[in-house]
Amino acid sequence: MSEYDVINSRAPKVDAPAKATGRAVFVDDMSMPGMLYGAILQSPVAHAKIVNIDTSAAEKLPGVKAVITSKEAGLVQYGVSPARYDETIFCHDKVRYVGDEIAAVAATDLETALEAVSLIKVEYEDLPIVLTIDEAMAEGAPVLHDKYPGNLCAEVHQEFGDVEAAFKECDIIKETTFKNKRQDAAFIETQGCLANYDLLGNLTLYTSTQVPHYVQRILAMVLKLPVGKVRVVKPYVGAGFGIKAGTNPMEIISCLLSMKTGKPVKMNYSREQVFMFGRARHQFTHTMKTGVKKDGTIMALEHQCYLDGGAYSSFGIATVYYAGSLLGGPYKMPNMKYDGYRIYTNKPACGAQRGHGGVAARACWEQQLDMIAEELEMDPLEMRLKNMMVAGDTTCNDLNMSSLGMKECIEAVREGSDWNNKKNSLPKGKGIGMACGFFVSGAGYPIYRSETYHSTAYIKLTEDGGTALLYTACAEIGQGCETTFSMIAAEALGIPLDSVRVESGDTDFGVDLGAYSSRQTLMTGHAVKEAAEDVKQQVLAVLSEELKIPAEDMDIKKGVVIFKKDKPDFSEMRVRYIKEHRGWTDNPEEGDELSFKEASRIAYLAKGSIVGTGKYRPQQLGGKFKGAAVGTSPAYGCSAQIVEVTVDEGTGKVTIDKMTDAHDCGRAINRTSVEGQMHGSLSMGVGEAMYEEVKIDDKGKVINSDLAEYKIPTALDMPNMETIIVESDEPNGPFGAKEVGEGAIMPTIPAILNAVYDAIGVRIWELPLTPERVYTAIQEYKDKNK
């Protein structure tokens, strides 16, 4: 039995009834009186000078209310990281990818808006394009941004310890190169927004975002409005996975159009536009050289990585750092050298996606570790155990593992999958493989340099007593954080879950950096917990005065006041309460415990509205070197996975038979949600490993921009999944909680790769594992080993 009353249990999501019945309101469900529809003209070519833009025909079309280009929008630069603001709302001198924004229209209906867009005439002067890293880095290659010669968007050079010296002590050194493919996160709800610039000059943007706070700041900056006049509200969101963690051009454009017309303006991306806009996982090319001693001790890693960035930076600076820093753990490794390069190409920009920067790196490295284990004739699971960090360890790049249930995770999947009996004894064509991984529980620093709190929250008790209203600016995007925070508030306040009502996703509620880097449970959780404790103390303070009992001798649990010492006579207080509630059916009976409802009413009568506030900002984290901030976190979640596969050697088709996943999420707040995140990570990992690749033709156009040809796993593709929750007590987490949303994807791809090798004896170093790629690898292996 859990020592907790609310958390550490299973709760249905608070938004489940609304979503299950279709009553939940998403942007697409919203409309306002007089609302206009917006549409964007996007570049049909990948690289060209803009010679002329003629909007006259579009302006004349009946129903068109505004046509805007860079002339109206200005040239304020923005992006994700202030270190690389390289986008403007509209292109003015040239376009850099198929999809770059040139102009926009607001009209009375969508058909008219689209027709008007088609009437805008743009004269281009074609420029040569670069679509690969090799092309972009070649001598004399066309340059996308004059400010970044050689198309070098960002580079990282880090060394911890002395890699060269360490290699001299190693018995085995392995070097391999690995490549994943450009991804799309394939969320169900495409981006959409509704901007309303009201008659008082206040701008409200309703948008499908993960980060209302950052969108608010970018809007204020680009539109040159006081931030106090800008409000961003996030209705229900059909997932984001990182792609909605920045500000998209449509969000700004809809605001501009609303400001220009004085009407609400609604806009949506089609699925094609989602692919055109991109901002999902980069294509990474990793080359890693790992040195180990005969006994399996990992000594050093030398690592180069090239990221195909697309036309703009987006999250890319953080990505190129994460791609290196997230190999610091979870194994003890004293020496690590990393050189990372993010390169501009004439394609949609890449950004952050679940497991930001670390997924392909992990896939490369964990497969390499298996190769080394094989050469050492060690069980790969034992080799990982041998090198595993424990709680309290710090990586060579200064990441502190304040809790780390990694060994427990490995033992859990070993048992859950029956590894010991299956490894080395499966028939040919069947294989089993494992891998480990870890991830941050929230970035240690905000995207812009600031001393801001990462999260604030407040709780107001309803004046008649009994209900706690929780307000946070966090972003519920389907992951269940509203439920998590309701549970944390209920636990900390000592009331039942259904006595909490939550409102979230509105910048008017405070600061919350949003749903990215798996931060909310830990960070928003702290703020919510503090707000709940604040409220509780205020109620107990009033009781203390009324009953002449020290507040510390009282508590609130399960909705009633606990008197730790002698129970006082509170009958007078109860009479007062009942007198005010004559005729109400839920008044307390004689002999009942003093309820939270009575106590909070008494508190209101004494003090007015009871409002408690909470806040959270991580302590100083990480090292002092350049880029030390990326990868730091107050805590790290970790996981181990074992995957079993069958490979049809005739066709190369891989079938995943079973997946066993154990994740250390600290203290599980809502066990059902934790498992949901594990399932989601596994299926996203399966997709990237097996099917997914955004394909781009030689003109820079995405050719599979729909969910028929961009293939994510269907229900039939997902095997049986066993998800095992491993709990640790994270000292930096609220109630000991930490992340699960992204760490769980880390081991998935390498575990599949290692299982495929186990089945066919052939290593594959490029994703996805389509039947053709696996078949070709088998044939090449056979030809080589004839």
Binding site: S270, A715, L716
Partner: protein, 293 residues
């Protein structure tokens, strides 16, 4: 993505529908399940002025079974094929093809007539129907004609159907004893996929443990239409079935196909898979031929 504007018609009888098609000609498109048409219209690949729905014509939804023939109405859904015990018994490879098509949602809407009429070279139903030597009935106001599927497909999206005609029925003779067929489709994922290669094979033996009297092998995704692997068929006829024979037939089929490189896969891989799937479908066909002895 918005649908272009069009007039929508819902005739209640085949005759009425034929009249409309005669009147509108190539300005009109027929819609049954709409799983293909709606997508193409939203993509503006086609923008017909008239869309004529067949959904209210009950005569097109019939399944007519006798000992010797199976007649399937053009609007019989793919889901209904998957559920039909009788089709499973008489034309097992057709049911396998139906089960492989799209996803449960698509199968609930998609029809057998639509899967033939859209003439996609990767479609799931044509290979097995072709190995069963199926015929389609094309109807217009002035009468109907029967066309073998062998000569029905003219190219991707192009068929023998004339603008004033409607595909109303599919007719298949029930295979004789000691005959069997198999179908395999290879794709990237388990559902909602476009096949990389699909193959159906049919053999009829002249008795239990006899020699192969007739054989048909049909390959999808490796040409502008589904292709007969005629040299593989020739190689099989008159021989006793064996793994070696089927292997050879697979190799022969590889020579019969004309795949191209595209973003889904290389020609070389598709050709290799024709060999593998031909051999495997012949194996399934043989097993059924023996079971149905």
């Amino acid at each position: 993505m918005l649908l272009p504007k069009f007039d929508f018609h819902e005739p209640a009888t085949i005759a009425e529908a034929c009249q409309m098609m005669a009147e509108f000609g190539s300005e009109a498109r027929l819609i049954a399940g709409g799983t293909d048409l709606m997508v193409n219209m939203k993509h503006k690949v086609i923008s017909p002025n008239h869309v004529v729905s067949l959904s209210r014509i009950d005569d097109l939804k019939k399944l007519d079974l006798s000992d010797s023939t199976v007649k399937i109405g053009a609007c019989f859904t793919v889901a209904e094929i998957t559920e039909s015990e009788e089709i499973g018994k008489k034309l097992s490879a057709l049911r396998t093809g139906a089960r492989a098509l799209g996803s449960p949602l698509v199968r609930n809407r998609a029809t057998i007539g639509g899967n033939l009429g859209t003439a996609r070279p990767a479609a799931d139903l044509p290979p097995s129907l072709m190995v069963y030597d199926a015929k389609v009935v094309l109807t217009k106001s002035s009468g109907e004609r029967e066309v073998s599927l062998d000569s029905f497909f003219k190219g991707p999206g192009v068929t023998e159907i004339q603008p004033d005609e409607i595909l109303t029925e599919i007719r298949v003779d029930v295979p004789p004893p000691h005959a069997g067929a198999g179908y395999i489709n290879l794709g990237i994922r388990q559902a909602q996929d476009c096949n990389l290669v699909n193959v159906a094979s049919y053999i009829a033996l002249d008795g239990p443990d006899g020699t192969i009297q007739s054989a048909r092998v049909v390959m999808g995704c490796v040409g502008p239409t589904h292709l007969r692997a005629s040299s593989a068929e020739k190689l099989l006829i008159g021989e006793k079935p064996s793994d070696e024979l089927f292997e050879k037939a697979g190799e022969a089929a590889m020579g019969d196909c004309t795949p191209i490189d595209d973003f889904r896969g290389s020609a070389q891989y598709k050709k290799a898979m024709v060999g593998v799937l031909t051999k495997r479908t012949l194996g399934i066909a043989l097993k059924e031929a023996k079971d149905r002895g």
